[in-house]
């Protein structure tokens, strides 16, 4: 079992299965939806896919500095610990809804947690 997390979780197909569920949760959560109100849904979905691919340990081009830069405008608008927790919670709930094994869910959550300081600009 030395496949990457991304392969074990199901690769791009898993991202595609998760994206609608995750995005729907985020948009329906009044505590964070204001960050995602971009009128262009296509663009938002592309970005959600980038987020999930990264969290699933998949191929991505983001460095810590990129994460900092991508979220800096949001930090300016007040992005905080609670928002981070909410997004992480929706990620976990999405995976559980899809029946992903607990061990894999934990690995994904560890990757998400590792971006904490960069996302919040700490």
């Amino acid at each position: 079992m030395n496949d990457t997390l991304f392969e074990r979780i199901g690769g791009e197909a898993a991202v595609n299965a998760a994206v609608d569920i995750f995005y729907r949760k985020v948009l329906s959560d009044d505590s964070i939806s204001q960050f995602f109100e971009d009128t262009d849904m296509d663009e938002q979905i592309t970005k959600q896919k980038s987020f999930l691919t990264m969290a699933f340990g998949g191929p991505n081009k983001y460095t810590g500095a990129d994460m900092r830069k991508a979220h800096a405008p949001l930090v300016e608008k007040g992005l905080n610990e609670a928002h981070f927790g909410a997004v992480a919670g929706h990620l976990q709930a999405t995976l559980e809804e899809l029946g992903v094994a607990t061990k894999l869910v934990n690995e994904v959550m560890a990757i998400a947690a590792s971006t904490h300081d960069d996302v919040l600009g700490l």
Binding site: V19, D20, Y23, R24, L27, S28, T39, M41, D42, E43, I45
Partner: protein, 336 residues
Amino acid sequence: MIFAEKKLTPLDGESVLDCLLRHAVPVDHSCKSGNCQSCLLKLSSGKIDPGAQKGLKPTAIKQGFFLACQQPCELIEAASFIDAELIFSHARLVDKQFFNDETCRLLLEPVSPTYYHAGQFINLKNPHGVIRSYSIASLPSNDRFLELHVHKKSNGIMSHWIFDEFKVGDRIDFQGPIGECFYTCLSIEQPLILIGTSTGAAPLIGILKDALHSEHQGSIIFYHGARNFEGLYLHELLLELENSHSNFCYRPSITEELTSSENEHSGKIKTGRCNEIALQEMALSNTSTIANTLLFLCGNPEMVNMTRKRAFLAGVASKNIYIDPFEYKDLRQAAR
């Protein structure tokens, strides 16, 4: 930025289109929202933003074409026009009929055969250089001509020209067909919901005819919304199709009240916004049906974008929502 061998100085964050217009370069354009593809240009050197190639055909991408309205100047070192022959074909107007005072139907005969899907759009360019997008209501397998529906806007330079000056027999340039909002037979069993305001009904009637012609098995519901009864310009046709196809249901609505002389229709025509009525009815159907539904949204951009989001939150899969927002910007101030 060098454009067509002239050096232009862009403002901070300016799009290529805005920069060219500010310098009075006569560049074709219409929606300024990245949908209509009329502002296509060609890269000579520099880098294209992925958003400036959204919706382009692979062959166009390979040739370095990009949408000027979506492309920031910063990334472009040099760019130029594309040969008009590569973009425009010609057609002849063979018929012009009025559905009512503010909606007309054009039948166009392309000079060379045109492959299209009902529901896609073409860009018409009139002799004054004005460009607007119009969706195709005809079905290539049944109809000899391209059918377009034009709504007269109170200050619309193109629609006024079409209503008043465009004559049967005249030739016109067109670009396209363009767009992803059409029926595919892969979906034969899926429920279809079509929602359109005003001439948003044009692509939808095309999609409907295509689905019925392909012997679509799933249910089909067409919500057409207009201000008043006159605006339901396909009423008779849609009633007829409803009577002859058991899986098809027509749901008209208007935002004003019916006049007393129209009261005979009160059983069929609801009062309210067509998208609200559709969303309410969708909320009542079961979740597996909703998850499997294909949704087509055409017309007023606010209606389209808002309905798209609410339908998505109600459980329609994002990949199952096809949209055609009719973006109009009045561009009379633009240099020409």
